[in-house]
């Protein structure tokens, strides 16, 4: 039995998506086959429209459909604070936490020589002119080895410019028990402990 070419093409395109293995691509294709035409057309249009409308903000490299992204153009944001993250998804995660009122800078990756990603492949150069306005840069890359290496690289780069550089806290996630934390996390959580009540008369 030969498979219909348009089925083969669809399975091939779907299996290019990240995290979609060949089995999943086939199941997705069959699923799509069973959907009404309008749903397929809506998905197809959503893909094209997203590609047409979306681009990176020329200032912070977040995703936007405007000239400048929503955060960069919001006058109520604290423009002296820049939070450097790996991916646009991290901006969404931080915004959802509701704890942050500054600006962002999206690197679009981490330094990873074995994946062929050096500093020049990230949006590091456009960060430097932004620092003249900044009071503090928060390095909020992930706490993986790659995220940490990227943070250390940026620290070395920014430090001489006289801007305060800070690193997102390592520690126990909320809801965590010590016994599930590995010793590196635990060591960091201990050394990063926060005083909550002071000794002495001043108290």
């Amino acid at each position: 039995m030969k498979y219909p070419p348009s089925l083969v093409a669809l399975i091939r395109e779907l299996s290019r998506l990240p995290g979609i293995g060949p089995k999943s691509a086939q199941r997705l294709a069959f699923h799509l086959f069973e959907q009404p035409r309008e749903d397929i057309e809506r998905l197809s249009s959503a893909l094209l429209e997203a590609k047409r409308d979306l681009h990176t903000c020329p200032i912070c490299f977040n995703i936007t459909d405007a000239d400048v992204c929503d955060v960069c153009s919001d006058p109520s944001r604290d423009r002296t604070l820049i939070c450097v993250v790996e991916e646009p998804g991290d901006v969404i995660a931080i915004e959802r936490s509701g704890e942050y009122q500054g600006l962002y800078h999206v690197l679009h990756g981490v330094i990873s020589p074995m994946n062929g990603v050096g500093p020049e492949r990230l949006y590091i150069k456009p960060l430097l002119p932004r620092l003249s306005e900044a009071r503090e840069v928060i390095l909020a890359t992930g706490t993986t080895v790659e995220g940490e290496a990227t943070a250390l690289y940026l620290q070395r780069l920014i430090e001489p410019l006289g801007v305060t550089v800070s690193r997102i806290a390592y520690g126990l996630p909320v809801g965590g028990a010590l016994e599930y934390a590995d010793e590196v996390t635990l060591g960091r959580a201990l050394s990063g402990r926060q005083t909550i009540a002071n000794r002495g008369p001043a108290k």
């Binding site: 990240p18 020589p113 074995m114 500093p119 080895v145 940490e148 290496a149 690289y153 599930y180």
Partner: protein, 247 residues
């Protein structure tokens, strides 16, 4: 009773997170290279242990139906936090990527594991991590059977060649060569690196100027013999790096 779970201990040489939140890791262990998946791992406690360059003990679960074994438990046995430092990080990548390319799954080799683990420790601690990276790369290649010809010209078999081989990273005689000869220290290094002990090599590092030539030879040799090694961008970082990491 044949068990489908096995405990293994090794170093993470690759780590990839899928959009579904699974962590796929490649471990180099004394029992060989192992690739396994921690399903949903990025949201759970496995995420901490299964980090690049971490030495971890894992419990693996394997069914005949699945290609990849599953990581069920992971306990950190050792981490080398300094490997994130810009002057060390590229060389850790280089050793890990080389090991991934040189050693195959199912190939039992305690020596390979010990050599790689020693190299990583060296990169993490030694005041001259670049030198450790250069020496240990040659050592890993040698262990895997990739030995540069240094006694005879790579083109015409003439004895005692001394000139760079700009394509293959070996040595050429004066007739076959288009470039001036290597400096004496570089020649000595290339002739001795697979004969001398790591300890002896560590004691006599090449000067900065000579290293470029040695790196270039290594890069060409790997490109021709082993194939693309993407950390290549990293191992020449000392030439390009705006930070000039080496003090």
């Amino acid at each position: 009773m044949s068990s489908r779970t096995a405990n293994r201990s090794g170093i993470v040489i690759r780590r990839h997170v899928t959009p579904a939140g699974d962590i796929i890791v490649t471990l180099l262990t004394p029992q060989g290279k192992i690739k396994a998946i921690a399903r949903g791992g990025v949201r759970g406690p496995l995420s901490s242990a299964l980090n690049l360059f971490h030495h971890v003990a894992v419990q693996l679960y394997q069914t005949p139906q699945a290609d990849l074994g599953t990581v069920r438990q992971a306990a950190l046995e050792g981490a080398l936090p300094t490997l994130s430092e810009p002057e060390r990080y590229p060389y850790a990548h280089l050793l890990a990527e080389l090991s991934d390319q040189l050693f195959q799954e199912g190939e039992f080799s305690e020596t390979a594991f010990d050599l790689f683990a020693g190299g990583l420790r060296g990169v993490s601690r030694h005041p001259d991590p670049e030198w450790v990276g250069l020496v240990m790369s040659y050592k890993l290649l040698g262990l895997a059977g990739f030995v540069p010809r240094v006694a005879r010209c790579a083109h015409c078999d003439e004895a005692d060649p001394a000139h760079p081989d700009p394509l293959g990273g070996q040595l050429l005689c004066s007739r076959c060569a288009s470039q001036p000869p290597h400096s004496e220290p570089v020649l000595t290094f290339m002739r001795q690196v697979l004969r001398q002990s790591v300890r002896a090599l560590m004691e006599h590092p090449l000067e900065d100027a000579d290293r470029d030539a040695a790196w270039r030879a290594l890069e060409r040799f790997v490109a021709v013999q082993v194939g693309t090694v993407r950390s290549a961008a990293g191992w020449r970082s000392r030439l390009q790096d705006g930070l000039r990491a080496r003090a």
